[in-house]
């Protein structure tokens, strides 16, 4: 709860207490609000005037005299004040002091490690240090294995992983040729039977459910290792293009030679036939 809300709550309570003291039993919400506003603005005005009076007198903080003078300036009857305080003191309503709120600790997302405590010269209310890893420097202890052999091994393993991932992805999404045909068929049969059994237990048959195929394939893949599968070779209308021009062989485009300088009959433009004359 913000400070303003606490103050306005106290103001409302105070206003309501004033009303009660004045003899009212109940007060309308809107009226109370209006009253609170009026009292607030009155109080603020009083405080301002007091402050100005104090500054006019060469002081930084107002004293009771300043306040009284301000009240007088605003048209208040100061002489009645002691009586009012005497009368209202008895049986008056006590407004409890607002409870000090326990600061709800906002959970920092992803805090890693413990922030360093503030040094002695830094006040506690300043925000804590950020995550240690963002500014802490630690000396490397023990040499990482950067030998030639290790690097080559890692590079090879990485290449292999990339290739394998691509291969497995393609195997799971496209058609394949089994190397163990009979075995794979029997596994597939078993998978089908199992799925049918599961379906039978569920008793909800959705003919459009594509999950059936998925699970069957998944079951087969689990039992038949990937190295027993060949990707179905893709037929193309011009297979020589992919076989002769690999994507790795990107062309460095050399500027075209001046073809116009070469006299070759095939480069000449064809003759346009003489149109037969048309007679009416």
């Amino acid at each position: 709860m913000s400070a303003d809300a606490v103050y306005s709550k106290s103001m409302r309570q105070a206003t309501a207490a004033l009303c009660k003291n004045a003899g009212f039993d109940s007060v309308d919400q809107d009226t109370l609000g209006l009253l609170v506003e009026m009292i607030t603005s009155y109080t603020v005005e009083l405080a301002h005037s007091s402050k100005q009076l104090a500054e006019g007198a060469g002081r930084t903080a107002p004293n009771p005299g300043d306040v009284i003078l301000a009240l007088i300036e605003m048209g208040g009857n100061v002489s009645q004040l002691p009586d009012y305080l005497k009368n209202s003191a008895a049986g008056s309503i006590v407004i409890p002091a607002p409870k000090p709120q326990t600061a709800t600790s906002t959970v920092d997302a992803l805090r890693i490690g413990k922030a360093k405590p503030h040094a002695a010269h830094i006040p506690d209310f300043l925000p804590p240090f950020p995550d240690p890893h963002t500014y802490i420097k630690t000396d490397v202890s023990g040499d990482p294995d950067s030998s030639y052999q290790k690097v080559r091994e890692l590079a090879a393993a990485q290449r292999r992983n990339v290739d394998n991932a691509l291969k497995n992805l393609m195997l799971s999404t496209s058609k394949s040729v089994p190397l163990f045909r009979e075995y794979e068929e029997s596994v597939r049969q078993a998978a089908k039977a199992e799925i049918a059994r599961e379906r039978g237990q569920q008793k909800t048959v959705d003919p459009t459910d594509l999950a059936l195929i998925e699970t069957e394939n998944a079951k087969v893949r689990r039992k038949v290792p990937a190295y027993c599968q060949l990707l179905d070779p893709t037929t193309e209308s011009r297979p020589y293009l992919s076989a002769l021009i690999s994507e790795d062989f990107e062309e460095e485009h050399s500027p075209d030679q001046e073809q116009f300088a070469i006299d070759n009959v095939y480069l000449r433009s064809p003759k346009i036939p003489a149109q037969p004359m048309e007679f009416d």
Binding site: L166, P239, I245, N264, V265
Partner: protein
């Protein structure tokens, strides 16, 4: 009436044009092609052939035309006509192969005769009046004909869905729309020509005429054909273009081809007459591949001192081509597989050789023509010979020698397995047909494999000729031939002189003797008109008393029909302590003995340098020598002067000396091939030194690693510790701090770097063949190879490592051996951890190749082969469907062929019951695959690795699940079918011969009861009596061919297949 070619050379008329038996001469032919419909696979055409009768009385004009060409009577729309001088003429079509089926014998012996006779009826070389289309000269034109004035035959024709000769490639999207890159092109389905399958013409090599070709196609397309492009013009509706070509150099129909399609042109900046055409998207590849062509032209023009004969040169790179190179006059159609990317180094030598070979064929074959089929070998040999010199110039003498050695071995391997190759069989003799299972005297009946070997043997023979005559005289001969052709090609108005542009075997050798003054009767008889190769078994010993080497040379010509009995000189070079001495011995019988005088006299104590044949002097450590003999080593026919195979016996230390100190790469290779017979720590050490020595030719070093494997395998029991090859690899390629991790790849185009690169591919494959005493792969090697694959790092490399990775996966596949105990193979759990690791690598490689294809799919192909190995060795269940998946149309051609090869191998080597169905399906692919390249490749593979071999008794007929009567019937139907593609037919005849021999197949001769019985008995495991076994081959000499020769050949072939390094150049 036959031409005079059958007669002896000297009698042949010098000017065949004067007294020719030809009835007419073609002067010119005009071709109009329009309505090119790529999706409908058809086009329409009109051709006008101008002929002149050679003598009065011409009433019939006979042309060649294939069964797929629709002539006016077959065409529905329009008013198609066949006219002579604009008068409608009657015509008759003949189908020569309508009746090949024959009786129930189904034997190749009688089929060969029948087929040859049928093919001869349409071969106008045999008699000028043979052909598929007979046009009756209308009465109105008789006067013209009798006055020997020109006659113009106009023919409207259509070609729709041709089965051979023309191929259409139409990439279509999912919605059936035509995509970019549609094209069509002509190819040779026959050995010499298949122009007749899309154009009525006189389809023989020797008939030259002038051409004018107009092709109208869609504006988006380009039409390329032989001749000079005169003009391109829009049609009036502006939706089509007409390309007008003119061929001013007399050319035969054989050398006319065309291509139409969506091509991007690139022009060689240095030579604007050379245009290359690429399919959309491949422009940069074509530009890069063709970049060095100007040097090729320069080389050949300088070599032959003759300018390029045609006004322009066009190269078109097409998809699904049947051959890597198809040469037409001024136009070459290449397969896409010839292209290389600038990041791929492996293909460069091969591709450049092919591009050069194509240019060489422009000179010999397209410009200078063979006068008939029987002389085609000469032109092909000359173009190959010139290409060989290109190899020598650009790739070095060692490469050239290595190449020649390979040519030689493929010749004697073929001859040992199939029979003799006659370079120029005489028309009048049946000798060639008697020796072979087909008749090589007609291009239609000749086997395509034979034709290929023919050109190789010819190439080798031309080189022999060069060695005999000297290089300069030979080039004077070639120059003379080219000059004469050049001169007569200018004579556009003297058609009779065009004949001078053709060369026959006789006229060639006549020119040889005119220019050089040498007659070569023995050479001609032995190597040109005769078939077979020489086979020498050479033994020798040193006789100290006489100070002589006593040499014994044995030939066994009767052992197989591919051998000849050689009589004549033979060079023997003896390297002695005092130098190298050449002796020429005369071979006069199947067994001959010779004494060779030695020159060195016991001066071995003195430390002295030893002179070699190259003139160099070397210090040689002589401690291993036989103390009595001064002979360091001995070589027989070192300069490849004969078509021969040599089995030389010499002691192991001499082989080692030869390997270490002889500079000739062939000598080193020969030692490496022989040394594995002598496994010892000493030979091991010698070979290790070779692998390690970077002064040695890289191919020798690669070969050495394989020899080392062989030796190590023979010494498996005695050897402990890690294999030596791992250490070599670590030393050469390992990183400094941890040798088992190879350095990141960094290829460079320097000779030392390339040598290391090729060795880097060979060594892993060699070590993968290492086996321990149990016959399984070494665990160290397996682990090391997995490491090589895992740590391979190409991120910093300028070049692609696809071929290297492919080599590693091939090596990994080779490590797979039979499991020690056969377990349940149908379950993944039954795999051993090593096999799981192998399989994991292979499937990952293959899957990644599917997702991110390597260049030419080499990695995927290697991985697929590895998976096949795992199936064959019983680690995975045998499942042909896996390979069928990769053989389906729509995948890259090389991948498909590799998968089909595996299936062929499965049928060839496996006796499981699935093979029958696989074979059935393979035959369907052979018959009806959309890609003719795949059809031919597969048919060829079936002949090279037949489903079963008639030679092996366990395999023949009854006890083989694949061998059924239905199979015989099915293959026979293809062979005897009238519409069968001629190359497919040729290959299948070879396969049939390999399976059943030349007689009637055993399964056919057995009664049904016998058949069932023998099948039953074989099922029981008893040796089948096979009642009809003797009849599988009617020829005695055939069955005496040792099965070993075939097997060893196969084995070598398959190991060579695995090795990218050993790929065939010019094959």
């Amino acid at each position: 009436m036959s031409k005079s070619h059958g007669s002896k050379p000297s009698k042949q008329d010098v000017q065949p044009t004067i007294d020719t038996p030809r009835l007419f001469k073609v002067l010119s032919q005009t071709v109009y092609i329009s309505q090119v419909d790529l999706r409908g696979r058809s086009f329409a055409g009109f051709t006008e052939i101008t002929v002149v009768a050679m003598r009065p009385g011409l009433r019939e004009i006979v042309l060649n035309v294939g069964p797929d060409v629709q002539l006016p009577r077959d065409i529905d729309d329009g008013v198609p006509r066949l006219t002579v001088n604009d008068v409608d003429a009657d015509y008759v079509r003949r189908d020569p192969f309508a009746d090949l089926e024959g009786g129930a014998e189904r034997d190749l012996k009688s089929f060969a005769r029948k087929f040859f006779d049928a093919a001869s009826t349409v071969d106008s070389e045999v008699a000028h009046g043979n052909g598929e289309l007979v046009v009756r000269v209308p009465d109105a034109c008789w006067g013209q004909a009798d006055a020997t004035k020109p006659l113009k035959i106009g023919v409207d024709f259509q070609v729709a869905r041709p089965a051979q000769g023309v191929h259409f490639v139409c990439p279509t999207g999912r919605d059936g729309e035509l995509e970019a890159g549609a094209h069509m092109f002509t190819y040779r389905s026959g050995i010499v020509s298949s122009t007749r399958h899309w154009l009525p013409c006189v389809d023989v090599c020797g008939e030259l005429c002038l051409w004018r070709i107009e092709i109208t196609c869609d504006v988006a397309f380009t039409a390329i054909t032989s001749g000079e492009l005169v003009e391109t013009e829009y049609t009036p509706d502006m939706r089509h273009k007409t390309y007008q070509y003119q061929m001013g150099v007399p050319t035969s129909a054989v050398n006319i081809g065309f291509a139409v399609g969506q091509f991007d042109i690139s022009v060689l900046p240095e030579m604007c007459e050379v245009s290359s055409f690429a399919l959309p998207g491949l422009g940069s590849l074509v530009k890069h591949s063709a970049a060095n062509l100007d040097r090729v032209f320069e080389f050949f023009e300088e070599l032959l001192s003759c300018r390029f004969p045609f006004g322009s040169y066009k190269q078109v790179f097409v998809d699904q081509a049947t051959d890597e190179v198809t040469a037409y006059a001024g136009l070459t159609i290449f397969s896409l597989s010839v292209l290389y990317h600038k990041k791929v180094v492996d293909l460069v030598p091969h591709s450049r050789t092919l591009l050069a070979h194509a240019v060489a064929q422009q000179f010999f074959g397209c410009f200078v023509n063979p006068s008939q089929w029987l002389d085609v070998w000469l032109m092909r040999s000359l173009s190959r010979y010139c290409t060989g010199l290109f190899i020598q110039r650009y790739f070095g003498n060692n490469e050239y020698l290595y190449h020649m050695q390979r040519v030689l071995s493929s010749v004697h391997e073929y001859e040992s397995a199939w029979g003799p190759v006659f370079l120029r069989p005489l028309r009048s003799e049946d000798r060639a047909r008697e020796a072979l299972h087909f008749d090589p005297r007609n291009s239609e009946t000749c086997s395509p494999t034979y034709a290929d070997v023919l050109a190789k043997k010819g190439h080798f023979t031309i080189r022999m000729l060069e060695k005999r005559l000297g290089k300069e005289p030979l080039f004077q001969v070639l120059h003379k031939i080219l000059t004469v052709s050049m001169q007569f090609s200018q004579q556009r108005f003297l058609p009779a002189s065009w004949q001078q542009m053709t060369v026959s075997t006789d006229s060639f050798f006549r020119t040889v003797s005119n220019v050089t003054g040498q007659e070569l009767p023995t050479f001609l008889e032995q190597w040109i008109y005769g078939g077979g190769h020489a086979h020498f078994q050479v033994k020798f010993s040193f006789n100290r008393k006489r100070n002589m080497v006593e040499l014994e040379i044995k030939q066994e010509p009767s052992l197989n029909s591919g051998r000849q009995k050689y009589v004549g000189p033979l060079t023997v070079v003896v390297q002695e302590l005092d130098g190298s001495f050449t002796h020429i011995v005369q071979i006069d019988d199947v067994l001959s003995r010779h004494d060779l005088q030695c020159h060195s006299k016991g001066r071995r104590q003195k430390k002295k340098k030893i002179p070699l044949c190259t003139g160099e002097e070397l210090e040689i450590d002589l401690t291993n020598m036989d103390a009595d003999s001064p002979v360091l080593w001995l070589r027989v026919d070192p300069d490849l002067l004969l078509v021969r195979k040599i089995d030389l016996h010499q002691p192991v230390n001499q082989w080692e000396y030869q390997l270490k100190y002889e500079k000739d790469v062939l000598a080193q290779m020969h030692s490496l091939e022989t040394l594995p017979r002598f496994p010892s720590p000493q030979t091991r050490h010698t070979i290790l030194d070779v692998i390690d020595n970077d002064n040695i030719f890289y191919r020798v070093r690669c070969q050495a690693s394989f020899s080392l494997t062989e030796i190590a395998n023979k010494m498996a029991e005695t050897w402990m510790g890690p294999p030596a090859m791992i250490n070599i690899f670590k030393k050469l390629y390992g990183s400094k701090s941890c040798p088992h991790i190879p350095r990141p790849n960094n290829f460079a185009i320097t000779s030392s770097s390339l040598q290391l690169y090729f060795l880097m591919q060979a060594v892993p494959q060699a070590m993968a063949r290492l086996r321990n005493a149990n016959g399984s792969c070494l665990a160290d090697v397996h682990k090391f190879l997995l490491g090589l694959i895992k740590y391979n790092d190409n991120s910093q490399n300028r070049y692609s490592d696809d071929y290297y990775r492919a080599a590693l996966y091939t090596a990994l596949g080779t490590t797979v051996t039979q499991p020690q105990q056969l377990g349940e193979t149908a379950l993944p759990d039954a795999l051993t951890p090593e096999m799981i690791a192998t399989l994991d690598e292979l499937t990952l490689a293959l899957n990644m190749d599917t997702l991110r294809p390597s260049f030419g799919r080499v990695v995927g192909i290697s991985a697929l082969k590895g998976i096949y190995q795992m199936q064959r060795k019983g680690h995975l269940p045998l499942d042909p469907d896996v390979f069928w998946k990769f053989a389906q149309p729509g995948l890259y051609g090389k991948m498909r062929m590799a998968a089909l090869d595996l299936l062929v191998d499965l049928v060839h080597s496996c006796r499981h019951s699935v093979v029958a169905a696989v074979l059935e399906r393979l035959l369907t692919v052979v018959q009806s695959d959309p890609d003719p390249g795949v059809r031919y490749h597969l048919a060829k593979q079936l002949s090279v690795r037949p489903p079963f071999s008639g030679r092996s008794s366990a395999d023949v007929g009854p006890n083989n699940p694949a061998s059924t009567r239905e199979l015989v019937a099915r293959i026979w139907k293809i062979i005897a079918g009238s519409r069968t593609d001629s190359r497919v037919r040729g290959y299948l005849i070879d396969a049939y011969r390999a399976m059943y021999g030349r007689g009637t197949p055993t399964v056919m001769t057995m009664g049904a009861l016998d058949f069932a019985k023998s099948r039953f008995s074989s099922a029981l495991g008893r040796p089948s009596d096979s009642s009809g076994r003797a009849s599988w081959d009617n020829l005695g000499d055939d069955s005496s061919i040792s099965a070993g020769a075939v097997d060893s050949g196969d084995g070598r072939r398959s190991s060579a297949n695995d090795l990218h390094l050993m790929d065939d150049i010019l094959e």
